[in-house]
């Protein structure tokens, strides 16, 4: 099989060695040999998950980096790496075609297994989901037995939210699967999808809260639902616990570096929005008891606006990844500069059809078509172009060289 060794790199040392990797199929992909991790103190930077951009000092977006999850020192999560087999070749056929036909039961069983052996985030999320499910069941039972509408509606809302969180959990566990014949890029996109679904649900929620505020404004006082303080306070506490679990992501604008970031951010915002809503309801009840009229309308309106503002950046970012936009952290000027550098090579006459997209934050894919003059050696041109774009962070690049 092809075995490429390159003696000199045209751009000077880049910190990674382009040696003959054991997986010879990855000829023009920069891969470290198996088992080597980049930063000794965080096992998360394996080959699979990791943002290799930070090993190159010439990178434009280089920042001294501490992952938000590293709240304690010396956390090593070898179980994440050992759980799945080593990085083998992608298998076409065989298991590839079987993936589509796996039964739901099998998938559920695998999810449960993964949760038991998953990492800290997965376990916390599972705990939170079970707490929410228990709480909403209790609320539903009490609501049905005593005939209070407010409790039933609240439990429905919680159940919807739980369903979404379960999808996020499933995405978290399923995202580590190896790429196979059908999903040639792997399953990491599931996390971005889960984040998008969460963001969408929160948008719907803010819209429905606005409608509820309007409804309360139109109706007269006697028909208002008087919210039960106890249930709202319990809801608030449960959600605050969830926010505490995911406190690393409790910001509105986050720079997404890994696929997991988007998912965890969306979960945190989901829980945060729920707690804002409960807090709003408590506030409304308190203001009503103080005798302020239209307190409900005000509070609901405020909550709806707050949730909308909080969720919009996440929605745009996940939407951008799903829409095959150019990687968000690379400025357009960098692309133009690379394009100019490639065109400036003596063999190259034109660069056409340059397209880039992001599979998940942290893994960018691109394709390029170059017009090369004469019957020159393509190899050096290919290598130069690969190196150039690798510095931008685009690891998977396919370059087509057309001879004029």
């Amino acid at each position: 099989m092809a075995d490429f060794t390159v003696s000199s790199e045209p751009n000077g040392g880049t910190g990674s060695s382009f040696t003959s990797a054991p997986a010879t199929q990855d000829s023009f992909k920069h891969r470290l040999p198996d088992g080597e991790t980049q930063r000794p103190w965080s096992g998360r930077y394996g080959i699979d998950s990791g943002d290799r951009r930070f090993s190159f000092s010439r990178n434009q977006s280089f920042k001294p980096h501490l992952l938000r999850n590293d709240s304690c020192i010396g956390i090593n999560h070898p179980e994440e790496e050992e759980l799945w087999e080593g990085h083998g070749k992608k298998e076409f056929g065989g298991t590839g075609n079987g993936v589509r036909n796996r039964s739901v039961l099998y998938q559920m069983a695998s999810v449960l297994l993964a949760v038991r052996s998953g990492n800290r985030q997965v376990r916390r999320l599972a705990l939170m989901i079970s707490l929410n499910v228990a709480y909403s069941t209790v609320e539903l039972m009490i609501g049905l037995l005593t005939g209070r509408v407010g409790l039933v509606s609240d439990s429905f809302h919680l159940t919807f939210g739980c369903g979404l969180l379960t999808f996020s959990l499933f995405a978290m566990t399923a995202a580590h699967k190896k790429p196979d014949g059908i999903y040639t890029y792997g399953y990491k996109r599931l996390e971005v999808l889960a984040a998008f679904t969460n963001a969408l649900f929160l948008l719907f929620m803010s819209f429905s809260l606005a409608v509820e505020a309007l409804h309360a404004f139109i109706q007269d006082e006697s028909e208002h639902k008087h919210y039960l303080i106890v249930s709202a306070v319990t809801n608030l506490l449960v959600n605050l616990l969830g926010v505490w679990f995911f406190r690393n992501y409790a910001r509105v604008n986050i720079a997404y570096r890994k696929a997991e970031d988007m998912n965890c951010h969306s979960i945190c915002l989901h829980v945060l929005a729920d707690s804002i809503r409960s807090a709003g309801l408590v506030l409304a009840s308190w203001l009503l008891s103080l005798g302020i009229e239209n307190a409900e309308v005000l509070c609901l309106g405020l909550v709806s606006a707050a949730v909308f503002v909080v969720i919009l950046p996440l929605f745009r970012a996940t939407g951008g990844v799903l829409l095959q936009q150019v990687p968000a952290n690379v400025p357009t000027s960098a692309f133009n500069k690379c394009l100019r550098q490639v065109t400036a090579l003596e063999d190259v006459s034109e660069v056409t059809r340059s397209r880039f997209w992001e599979l998940v934050p942290g893994r960018a894919v691109g394709s390029l078509s170059i017009l090369v003059k004469g019957g020159g050696n393509d190899h050096s041109v290919l290598h130069y172009v690969h190196e150039l774009y690798h510095d931008l962070g685009i690891q998977d690049l396919t370059v087509q060289t057309d001879h004029v």
């Binding site: 990855d26 000829s27 023009f28 799903l322």
Partner: protein, 495 residues
């Protein structure tokens, strides 16, 4: 809270009976309806009564749409190939009833010269070449016209219902109007995604905006799920509140009216034939004649089967049918037998946004049918109110089940998976069989939207092979066998 929706959705045992004996009932319904059609045909067979003919056509269309709705429900739920074939046969019946002559012009594909297609001007050039651009534009504009008409119709009916509800002081009618509002929202989303997918590519969006269609369809389906959840919630609330008297007759009439509205909208969304479309197409005709006749040799078998993205030009009785060349279903022709291939290619041809709007309308009509039946039963026997919750649940589950297939397609596209109709193993083996090719790796095939497929791979060749010739042959092979035209191949020489 007073009863906001005094009518409930009920499912009588009869429906369960229908579900169980669908093998008996389906052909029975089909026969009954075709008998009606025959009678209508015989009665109005003369050309003199143009007005009658219009009405007759409308009635036929309505009945046909009802049949198709029923079949769509069964098809979506049970995935029986028979249902699909029957539905397709019914769709074929409709154009043949208009007595049109079909002209099929077989123009060889101009993309056969591979070298011409490799080069395209500018670093960021359009994702599709000019031919497919025009075809996309016509398809898009026709879909947009349909959706726009549907939205207008919806708004008109909503206004009628709101006025009627205020006049009659009935909350039931007002809440049905609110339900129609959700329809308008779904159509608006589809319309927006259709319009947005035609935007030009920008430096930040190097593939253009085709993905917006898929995201819009996803949002639309989430809306359907949300509405089903809300209805289940309301049913439970009604059980708790025990809202007393329910007016069965009002339920029945309002939902019957809703059903008629939904059938009209399904008629507009589901089929190209609209009497309102005649004027709009006459001016497009001449530009489209020259550009849309591009298709493969297999198309001769297709000339009787009209897919929903095709244009029918009713111009002096001559209709020209065109076929979308970017269909990735054609490679299946040599593999599958005829009828299966046709049904597969037809089922996926509808524009995804129009299809999601159609699903919305379908879900609404299912629920209207349920409410009608429930209203009839409550009218007859007012004490059977507890069945409502069960019925609501069952109907909501049916509605959700109809969306599962489309959701699966959407998820597959969003996950960048290999499209179903392309066998990656076969492709890899076929490429390796070419002279001079040593190995293929990093093969990625993915779709940017339903129907537009891209491929990227690295090909290792022997040291003495001619790289240029091999590149051409690889690209030609992929284009010929699998009809994928957006291909990027990196040729590496083994050393």
């Amino acid at each position: 809270m007073t009863d906001s929706r005094p009518y409930n959705m009920s499912l009588p045992i009869v429906y369960g009976g229908i579900v169980n004996c669908n093998f008996v009932i389906k052909p029975w319904i089909c026969q009954l309806l075709s008998k009606i059609l025959v009678v209508l045909n015989e009665k109005y067979d003369r050309d003199a009564f143009l007005g009658c003919k219009c009405v007759e056509e409308l009635v036929k269309m309505g009945i046909l749409q009802l049949k198709m709705l029923i079949y769509s429900v069964f098809e979506a739920l049970f995935e029986e190939p028979q249902c699909e074939l029957k539905r397709i046969q019914m769709e074929d019946q409709a154009p043949s009833s208009s007595q049109l002559v079909e002209v099929n012009i077989d123009v060889p594909s101009t993309v056969a010269t591979v070298s011409g297609s490799k080069v395209c001007g500018g670093a960021i050039c359009d994702f599709s070449d000019s031919k497919t651009n025009i075809k996309d534009a016509t398809e898009r504009s026709s879909s947009m016209q349909k959706l726009l008409l549907a939205v207008l119709l919806c708004i008109i009916f909503m206004a009628v219902e709101v006025i009627g509800g205020i006049k009659a002081n009935s909350l039931a009618i007002l809440t049905d109007a609110a339900h129609l509002l959700s329809d308008v929202a779904a159509f608006a989303i589809s319309l927006f995604s259709l319009w947005a997918s035609g935007w030009e590519a920008t430096p930040r969006q190097s593939y253009g905006f085709f993905r917006i269609e898929i995201l819009g369809a996803l949002v639309s389906i989430q809306l359907i799920w949300l509405l089903a959840g809300i209805l289940v919630y309301e049913a439970i609330l009604r059980i708790i509140n025990d809202s007393g008297e329910v007016n069965g007759w009002l339920m029945f009439t309002v939902s019957a009216f809703g059903l008629v509205v939904n059938i009209i909208m399904a008629m507009m969304l589901g089929h190209e034939h609209g009497h309102a479309h005649h004027g709009g197409h006459d001016d497009h005709e001449h530009s489209d004649h020259g550009n849309s006749h591009d298709h493969d040799h297999d198309e001769n078998h297709h000339n009787h089967h009209h897919e929903h993205t095709e244009e029918h030009f009713h111009f002096h009785g001559v209709s020209v049918t065109t076929h979308n060349p970017l269909s990735s279903e054609d490679p299946k022709e040599p593999l599958l037998n005829h009828s299966e291939a046709k049904s597969v290619s037809k089922a996926t041809k509808r524009n995804i946004n129009v299809h999601s709007a159609y699903l919305h309308v379908l879900g609404d009509s299912i629920q209207s049918v349920g409410v009608m039946v429930g209203g009839a039963i409550i009218w007859y026997k007012p004490e059977w109110k507890i069945i409502d919750l069960i019925c609501t649940l069952i109907f909501s589950v049916i509605v959700l089940a109809t969306t599962i297939k489309m959701l699966r397609n959407i998820l597959e596209v969003l996950m960048e998976s290999t499209p179903r109709e392309i066998d990656a193993t076969r492709l890899e083996r076929g490429l390796c069989d070419l002279d001079g090719v040593v190995a293929i790796h990093e093969l990625h095939i993915w779709a940017i939207t339903v129907g537009k497929v891209l491929l990227a791979c690295h090909v290792t060749i022997t040291p003495e092979a001619n790289a240029e010739y091999l590149l051409d042959s690889v690209i030609g092979y992929i284009k010929r066998e699998y009809n994928i035209s957006h291909v990027t191949i990196q040729i590496e020489r083994q050393q």
